[in-house]
Amino acid sequence: MNKNTIRHNFEITEKGSLGSLALGDVGLRAWRSVKKEARQKRKNEKKA
């Protein structure tokens, strides 16, 4: 059972926001995932 899967209707940026932190676990994880993706993207771009 996990109710913490509500959809957020705003874009999470790499810099994050208070809104995403206020969402708690899902917000924090979603933000970190965005950061990770952005880092990976930069890494890939650098490699390319």
Binding site: K15, L18, A22, G24, D25, L28
Partner: protein, 868 residues
């Protein structure tokens, strides 16, 4: 599936209506607004001393700190060889979650202070150690053993800790739009900001995770965001304080409001995660000064930042059985645990200090009680032994407490740190006893503290790193390591409360010797001692000087009290109004003003202020009594009866005034009397008949009549008849010292005793009195007195004459104030001229059949001298 009634308790440390109110009005705390609209709200009264770990442990146990054992921010290690931030091992009483564990209910606990090491309960505990992270971004932050229960939950939530170095401008700018102006080399505020914000986000993330992924009956989440932000940034909150530079004000003035708004955003999310059958409680443990009483320079005493904590926190509750959009009154921290137990239909321990807040419920069911949960055996999910956690002298946590100012930097020498901690904990316990008015226990501890011998600072202590720290505190070689000034200050307050004038003077003198830098304001104590000594005008002078130097609400309140004592009610009213201008939510100021309005015959205002006092503090018998007086005078007899009933019920000690007032009301309901009538022509069981008046007003004459009439007289006949009173004085020697000792008054029951007018105010309110007050022309009285003491009766001392006049006015006011006093004026001349009529009136007033003929026959009209 049957719906479960769940309870979610959310702790917002230091949240205060004074900040919340304007934000609600601007629509900037929408989640809390939603909760208020569908629930109840009110003040939450804190306790003394207002230290958060003590207070939140009281919330969890329903007991005061002397019982639950959490007495401060730090504790001694189990081996007594060190100190550490307070842990769950200090708590000696069962918390709500222990009881729920025993009863087969599931609890989740997140961030509670203190909750480390996590107790093995049925449910999940994420202790207050979870969110504490090292400042150094390169440092490792392993999750210590005992941080959570069950250990298996670690893998699910270990990534939910937010690190301060992850905080970005997107998080900072909504709080500090001009953050770019901060010189981070000099000003470390942003570092503190990041640490405080990230810790609370970690708590919130763990909380929301558990809310949505686990099955629970009770859940408690504690946030220190508001408290920590207030300690760091309240000085910059509007209105701008003079001492705050404009540049810093411009940078930081939105931070405190930002903290509340972010807390509300987190609440919004929390509310999305619970079902409709969940009761949500949001509460704080105390408020936070946001007005003129903000402190810019903290005194050096331990836990001095708690001085910024305000008496009232906030309380909001909403749920299926909670009333809608109603204000509730008189809640205290001790009431939360009993109320939550009641929500689960569990019995309340009779050893708990609080009560079930029945007023908040739609359906009010009778609470059940057991003697104590402490005596119930079985599994309560507690730790089995407290010696296994020696690794907990957590430097980072200690450092944060130091930075917040809650504790001094622990001494390098561990034995000194241990000694200081021991003394602090003892002192806190004394303050808890003092707060509970158990002065005996408080004094015992304080005396032990001042009589102990302590090591002194040596030359070597002023070498190296500690030199600056010690010098900053004004310490020097030879000074005692333990500062005993706070102990003497508490002893002084207790002595004053207990009217121990000699001790009070002694402690005041000692304080002035110890406080060589004269940092402590002693004018209150000095004024109170002078008052105890009866030197009212000197006390007033001191307070007026203090008021001129630095006006504050308490000084105005004390000034008001003195004016009231002097029967100068208009001045008293003005002083109390000034006090309220400076501090509008002090119940005692409202009550004092209500009482003053009664004396000024403005009963509507009196009722208004008494009601406000009750709104602020429900358990306030004096305010209920004053409300009763006002309502009685306004003619609302039934309502007055209710108010008196409440006043008499509220305190364990007997409320004699309220009980007598209730008897009077009963009479009024049964018989129609004028509202100002102080005569009830009936016998009162064990009544004391008092003959009073100014000296030479005919009191001996009336005593003589009563004796002849058949009433037993309390006299020792020590003062023999003389030319001034040829038939005797009918005096009783202990009356002379009635102001010092009124314990003998019981002997006067069913008898008559002569008491000179100025001593009437010292009558013990526990008895019923019938006062026959002799009135005689004042000029005649003064002339008669002059003659008696061998002075020229024709020279009238004007000052004495005026003083007597004023005194008679005071008596008129006093008699109205005393519900246990029935009162008639008897004219001296009438007594001589119309003796039988006066005798009959007196007999009816007393409610006994006196021998009227004998009373009449004993009067020698020739004694009427000095007539005008």
């Amino acid at each position: 599936m049957k719906k479960k009634h769940k309870v979610l308790l959310i702790g917002w440390d230091a949240a205060d209506w004074k900040i919340i109110g304007p934000l609600l009005a601007k629509g900037q705390m929408p989640a809390l607004k939603k909760l208020i609209d569908k629930g109840v709200y009110g003040n939450m009264a804190t306790m003394n001393p207002p230290y958060s770990p003590m207070l939140w442990s009281t919330v969890a146990t329903g007991k005061t700190p002397d019982k639950h054992g959490v007495l401060g921010f730090i504790e001694l290690m189990p081996d007594m060889k060190g100190i550490r931030p307070v842990t769950v091992h200090s708590r000696k009483s069962k918390a709500l979650w222990n009881i729920f564990h025993n009863q087969g209910l599931k609890s989740n606990l997140v961030g509670w202070w203190p909750s480390f090491p996590a107790e093995p309960i049925n449910g999940v505990v994420v202790s207050d150690k979870f969110q504490k992270l090292k400042k150094d971004p390169n440092a490792k932050n392993p999750i210590l053993k005992g941080t959570m229960h069950p250990e298996s939950i670690k893998k699910d939530i270990r990534d939910l800790r937010l690190f301060p170095f992850e905080i970005t401008e997107a998080h900072i700018l909504p709080f500090i739009p001009k953050a770019y102006q901060i010189d981070q080399e000099k000003d470390k505020s942003l570092q503190s900001f990041a640490k405080m914000l990230s810790e609370n986000v970690s708590v919130h993330a763990a909380g929301t995770y558990l809310m949505g992924t686990t099955d629970w009956d009770f859940m408690a989440v504690y946030y220190d965001l508001i408290d920590h932000f207030c300690h760091a940034f309240m000085k910059y909150h509007p209105p701008k304080l003079k001492a705050i530079p404009q540049s810093l004000f411009d940078i930081y003035n939105e931070v405190v409001q930002g903290a509340y708004r972010f807390q509300d955003m987190m609440l919004e999310r929390t509310m999305q995660l619970v079902d409709k059958d969940t009761t949500i409680i949001v509460m704080s443990d105390h408020g936070f000064e946001s007005g003129h009483k903000r402190i810019l320079k903290m005194p050096k005493y331990p836990a001095a930042p708690a001085l910024e904590h305000r008496q009232f926190g906030m309380f909001v509750a909403a749920g299926p059985n909670i009333k809608k959009n109603e204000k509730v009154f008189g809640l205290g921290l001790i009431d939360i645990a009993p109320t939550i137990l009641h929500m689960f239909n569990l019995p309340i321990g009779m050893d708990m200090d609080g009560k079930v807040a029945l007023d908040i419920f739609i359906r009010q069911e009778k609470p059940h009680y057991i003697e104590s949960w402490e005596n119930v055996s079985g599994d309560f999910g507690q730790h089995s032994d407290s010696n296994e956690v020696n690794q907990l002298s957590d430097q980072e946590t200690m450092q944060q407490l130091v930075e917040l100012g809650y504790i001094e930097k622990p001494d390098e020498k561990i034995e000194i740190a241990i000694l200081k901690t021991k003394c602090d904990l003892k002192h806190n316990l004394a303050r808890v006893h003092s707060g509970k008015k158990d002065f005996y226990k408080a004094k015992e501890i304080l005396l032990e503290l001042i009589n102990d011998s302590y090591p002194k600072y040596q030359k070597s202590d002023f070498e190296g790193e500690s030199k600056l720290q010690l010098e900053r505190q004004g310490l020097k070689e030879g000074d005692s390591i333990i500062d005993v000034i706070p102990y003497y200050m508490d002893l002084l307050s207790i002595s004053i409360s207990e009217n121990e004038m000699d001790n009070a003077e002694l402690y005041l003198k000692k304080l002035r010797t110890l406080d060589r830098r004269f940092e402590i304001n002693t004018y209150f104590s000095e004024a109170k001692i002078l008052l105890l000594k009866g030197k009212i005008h000197e006390a007033l002078k001191i307070l007026q000087t203090a008021k001129d130097n630095k006006p504050n609400a308490e000084v105005w309140f004390q000034i008001g009290n003195i004016y009231k004592r002097l029967y100068q009610f208009h001045q008293a009213k003005e002083a109390y109004e000034k006090a309220l201008e400076l501090e509008s939510d002090k119940a005692k100021y409202h009550q004092a003003l209500a009482d003053t309005f009664i004396r000024l015959n403005n009963f509507e205002e009196a009722a208004e202020y008494a009601l406000t006092a009750i709104e602020l503090v429900k358990y306030y018998p004096e305010a209920h009594y004053t409300l009763g007086e006002a309502l009685e005078k306004l003619g609302y007899i039934q309502q007055a009866q209710q108010a008196y009933k409440t006043a008499s019920k509220l305190k364990p000690k007997t409320r004699h005034r309220a009980e007598k007032a209730l008897e009077n009301i009963k009479d009024k309901l049964e018989n129609v009397h004028g509202l100002n009538d102080k005569e009830h022509y009936e016998y009162r069981k064990d009544q004391i008949v008092i003959v009073s008046g100014l000296p030479r007003s005919g009191t001996s004459l009336m005593m003589q009549m009563l004796e002849k009439g058949g009433l037993e007289i309390l006299t020792d006949s020590k003062r023999v008849a003389d030319i001034s009173n040829p038939k005797g004085y009918f005096e009783y020697n202990p009356v002379m010292s009635l102001h010092k000792n009124n314990s003998w008054l019981g002997e006067a029951q069913n008898k008559s005793v002569k008491i000179v007018a100025p001593l009437l105010k010292f009558l013990d309110p526990k008895y019923r009195y019938k006062v026959i007050f002799m009135k005689r022309d004042l000029i005649e009285i003064v002339k008669s007195q002059q003659k008696m003491i061998g002075k020229d009766p024709e020279t009238l001392p004007i000052k004495l004459f005026e003083a007597y006049k004023l005194h008679l006015d005071h008596i008129a006011i006093w008699k109205e104030k005393m519900p246990n006093v029935e009162f008639i004026y008897v004219n001296y001349k009438d007594t001589l001229v119309n003796t039988s009529r006066v005798a009959a009136r007196v007999s009816t007033f007393i409610g006994m059949e006196l021998d009227i003929n004998a009373m009449e026959n004993c009067v020698d009209k020739n004694l009427y001298r000095n007539r005008v």
